[in-house]
């Protein structure tokens, strides 16, 4: 464990901040390489069927058009499912762009028009004519959910005690269903790939992705190339939120075209096409909670149904979270999928937890009213110190402290419990709260640290920085561990040729890559310390590595800073001018503990009584997530995630026109996301949570925890304000006005 610290915990500004505010940060679709051709994607206008013919003659006749690639004329692609399976592919048969004549979902890419100029390619793409043999499609989630229900509950994923009986016998009960529509991530940067053609067997691609290595392996596998001949670069990523964890189709299309034309090709998706990639799956969750008159839980049943494609089974756990949060002897949890003629959904910030907790925490609020208890009190009387599915205690769980600090900051004690009992002018005021939880995961990762005699450090790993501040985290950790100022450190990432790292997602980057950085820096420390002890008359002779610290460009005795050998002197003895070490770190295999992050979210809404307009005027989120490397940047993660939660609660919904099986709200005017005027005061609190068990640096990660719980806290506040329980997201004013 690190006891003294010059960098960890410091609110440093982003090390890449200057590049981002001056426009110098280059994103994937911005490399204007020599002899670049532009590709524009044509998508299918039916949801299911077969392409009979693609008439590209008119498009090809436009001056400047180079080629129109389709399934009928494409180059060689791999022909087995396993070649298309990326690092996080779900079970099934991954979609293969331009592979064959089958249309599997509306919006599927079916042709790529490549031209000398972007406008020419876009114009020519509008001239492509497609004849289809259309089949009847199934895209209505709710209709298909009911059709496939079959009267029988799905097989439980977890069961303990006798949940059904305990529910029937309970004095206080909640029996309710909650639903969510399809949501799209809509990062600000559209997916783009600039494929730089080098040779038939070598290519470099600037691709927008959360995992450069995942994409490198995908390209190598799909195109039958040697992995070391493929390089994927992703230095800056204009937001991801999960949509860039798997390779998106701009990548294979750009590579396919570059190989066909033997020149560099860029493919950038339009905003409309951003609605043809992965999304958060629509879902319905049925909860049955039983408790005694004091609110003590006796039964917790949670059934979830979500949508997926016909070709892959994408599913994340919605139902497990109550067993981690609330002590309950009888529980039954079940989940099933409904297959539709749509593209496969994917992870979206807090996948599984965000959806599950929305339902669980609304149901808990309903139970609090049914048992006549304060909602916070209900959480506290059912607090669980164990994960009841893994049957393990937590390595750390400062959730009680989250509740206490957030409630105090929010002023929860001044709340009057009755719905419609608080108002300000012509607005109803509502206060609601919810709990948040997310897994604190760690995956194997590697990093390379290079220390030079002049005190410069380079720290590198093939991870990404989609916005959380990974560059800064890496630089801070290396500066801390090698005892140099932050400005001496250069962090490198977003390059598949760097030491291996997993995709950036799941809140596991800082724990995984951070632990690898710790391991690599420790190797550098060891070598440097060995050299420092060889200096003639070394003031560090006879000491152990534990007795020294690395600070101010020197190795110093922990208790007597004057006993020191400078980095330069140590390297001189070894006749070297740099130390380079690569190391890997993996999570503990044999932990006796469960690892989670937690939050308590309190929200205030003000609702115009006559118009039903909802404003989220205040949110307080207290988070317990182990050691926080940089409270400024971690705070921004929580803040931004709360904004995402506001969108989920009040705005976001992708609507399908079932006649065409197509997402119709496929632009930022019809798909509403929060804008500046929708966001008011948000307070973020990090609750101290030392965790020496989880990994050497005590890191848990904060990417998801900020959004989990927000929608429920707002929904509960809306109920408190109006007395109206809206169980179907988003909570739009028509749902409040409806009798």
């Amino acid at each position: 464990m690190i006891t003294t610290s010059n960098q960890i915990g410091k609110p440093a500004s982003r090390v890449d901040g200057r590049l981002k505010v001056t426009g110098a940060a280059k994103y994937a679709g911005e490399f204007n390489v020599a002899n670049l051709a532009h590709g524009v994607v044509v998508t299918a206008s039916i949801a299911k069927g077969r392409i009979k013919h693609i008439d590209a003659e008119e498009a090809l006749a436009v001056e400047g058009v180079l080629d129109v690639l389709t399934h009928a004329n494409r180059g060689k692609l791999a022909s087995s499912d396993d070649k298309y399976k990326d690092e996080i592919a779900p079970d099934g048969s991954p979609f293969r762009p331009l592979y064959d004549d089958q249309v599997r979902f509306n919006g599927q890419p079916i042709a790529l028009v490549v031209a000398e100029g972007f406008e020419i390619a876009r114009f020519a793409a509008s001239l492509i004519r497609v004849d289809y043999e259309q089949d009847a499609h199934v895209t209505d989630f709710e209709a298909q959910r009911q059709r496939t229900a079959g009267g029988k509950r799905p097989k439980p994923t977890h069961s303990r005690g006798k949940a059904a009986r305990a529910f029937d016998e309970a004095a206080v009960r909640v029996d309710a269903a909650y639903s969510m529509p399809v949501e799209h991530h809509n990062p600000m940067e559209p997916y783009a790939a600039t494929a730089v053609w080098e040779a038939d067997d070598a290519i470099t691609v600037y691709d927008k992705t959360q995992g450069p290595l995942n994409c490198r392996n995908y390209v190598a596998s799909v195109f039958g190339m040697k992995p070391d001949k493929v390089r994927v670069l992703s230095h800056f990523v204009g937001g991801g939120f999960g949509s860039g964890l798997r390779p998106n189709y701009e990548l294979p299309l750009a590579v396919l075209a570059a190989r066909a034309l033997k020149r560099s090709v860029r493919v950038t998706l339009t905003r409309q096409q951003m609605f043809t990639i992965g999304y958060r799956a629509a879902n319905v969750q049925e909860l049955k909670l039983g408790a005694d008159r004091n609110g003590i839980l006796a039964s917790f049943r949670h059934d979830a149904v979500s949508m997926t494609s016909q070709f892959e089974d994408f599913q994340r756990s919605f139902v497990s979270w109550s067993s981690q949060l609330y002590r309950c002897p009888n529980s039954e949890l079940a989940q099933r999928l409904v297959k539709l003629d749509v593209n496969t959904p994917c992870d979206m910030r807090g996948p599984g937890g965000t959806e599950g907790i929305w339902a669980i925490e609304c149901a808990m609020d309903e139970l609090a009213y049914a048992a006549n208890l304060d909602p916070l009190e209900l959480r506290l009387v059912n607090y669980s110190d164990r994960d009841q599915i893994a049957d393990k205690p937590y390595s750390s769980k400062a959730l009680r402290e989250c509740y206490r600090q957030a409630a105090e900051k929010f002023g929860w004690s001044k709340r009057s419990r009755e719905p419609r009992s608080m108002r300000a002018g012509n607005e109803l005021v509502g206060w609601g709260m919810a709990t948040g939880i997310w897994e604190a995961m760690q995956l194997p990762a590697s990093a390379r640290a290079v220390l030079t005699a002049n005190g410069a450090v380079e720290i590198a790993s093939a991870t990404a920085d989609i916005g959380p501040g990974t560059y800064t985290m890496m630089a801070q950790l290396a500066a801390e561990l090698l005892g140099v100022p932050l400005e001496n450190v250069t962090a490198k990432l977003g390059d598949s040729s760097l030491p291996a790292a997993p995709v950036e997602g799941g809140s596991f980057t800082t724990s995984s890559v951070g632990s690898a950085i710790h391991a690599a820096c420790l190797e550098v420390q060891k070598e440097l310390f060995g050299l420092a002890q060889k200096v003639k008359g070394s003031p560090l002779a006879g000491l152990k590595l534990d007795d020294v610290r690395f600070a101010d460009g020197a190795i110093r005795h922990k208790d007597d800073a004057s006993r020191a050998v400078s980095v330069a002197d140590a390297m001189r003895i070894g006749k070297i001018d740099r130390i380079e070490k690569e190391a890997s770190a993996s999570p503990r295999a044999d932990s006796k503990y469960a690892h989670s992050t937690h939050s308590a979210v309190f929200a205030e809404v003000k609702i115009d009584e006559e118009l039903g307009v909802i404003r989220v005027t205040r949110v307080v989120s207290a988070v317990a997530a182990g050691r926080i490397i940089n409270p400024k940047l971690a705070g921004s993660q929580i803040l931004g995630a709360v904004v995402g939660g506001i969108g989920m609660a009040l705005h976001e919904e992708t609507v399908t026109d079932q006649r065409f099986g197509r997402f119709m709200t496929h632009n930022l005017a019809d798909y509403h996301v929060p804008v500046n005027a929708d966001v008011h005061a948000i307070d973020v609190i990090f609750v101290e949570e030392p965790d020496e068990e989880i990994n050497p640096l005590g890191i848990k990660g904060v990417g998801e925890i900020g959004i989990v719980g927000v929608a429920a806290a707002i929904a509960n506040a809306v109920y408190h304000a109006t007395g109206k329980r809206v169980r179907d997201l988003p909570i739009t004013l028509d749902k409040l006005m409806r009798e």
């Binding site: 500004s13 426009g23 204007n32 008119e58 001056e63 100029g117 989609i466 931004g640 632009n667």
Partner: protein
């Protein structure tokens, strides 16, 4: 079908691309002459012809604000502006905000307040904020929120964006008052 192929065969003579026009723009203080097709937006002219990729394309429909630049001092969506419409105009992009190595006060405030995460909406936010301050309509945080609502930030950095703009606005007001 046969008839259509005949038409297509005839079209093989190639459909010509639109005739090009010459446009003069003063971009970040430098005179630039462009020969472009009239369908080229100011956004694509900046990004593709002048390699000024600081200005971002988020939606190409005037719905997100990532492409905001200043044209003759006013903030506009460059994706809804054809370059040929702005012949002779002064265009300022994010690349033109700093004076050499010295960041514009808004750029510095954005870094200090962590007013961005992924950074993709940031150039548009910055140009929009420069325009907002010049307009002089926003006096309170609520007015900043309202008048910055044409620039979406999906990372949700809004409170920090407002804090950064407020700080610069207060600073410039103070400086203005001190000068009086």
């Amino acid at each position: 079908m046969a008839q259509r192929s005949a038409v297509a065969r005839k079209a093989r003579e190639r459909l010509p691309a639109p005739a090009r026009m010459t446009v003069s723009l003063h971009v970040n203080g430098v005179g630039r002459k462009l020969t472009i097709a009239p369908w080229t937006t100011l956004l694509d002219a900046l990004r593709l012809k002048l390699d000024l990729t600081g200005t971002k394309k988020g939606c190409d429909h005037g719905q997100c604000g990532a492409c905001t630049v200043l044209v003759d001092g006013r903030r506009v969506y460059s994706c809804l502006t054809l370059a040929v419409m702005k012949d002779g105009a002064q265009v300022t992009t994010v690349e033109g905000l700093a004076q050499g190595d010295a960041l514009h006060p808004l750029q510095q405030a954005f870094v200090d307040h962590d007013a961005f995460q992924c950074g993709y909406c940031t150039p548009g936010q910055l140009c929009s904020a420069v325009g907002l301050i010049a307009e002089g309509h926003a006096r309170t945080a609520d007015e900043i929120r309202e008048l910055m609502s044409g620039n979406i930030c999906r990372c949700g950095a809004y409170p920090n964006i407002v804090a950064a703009i407020e700080q610069v606005m207060r600073g410039s007001t103070k400086a203005g008052e001190a000068g009086r």
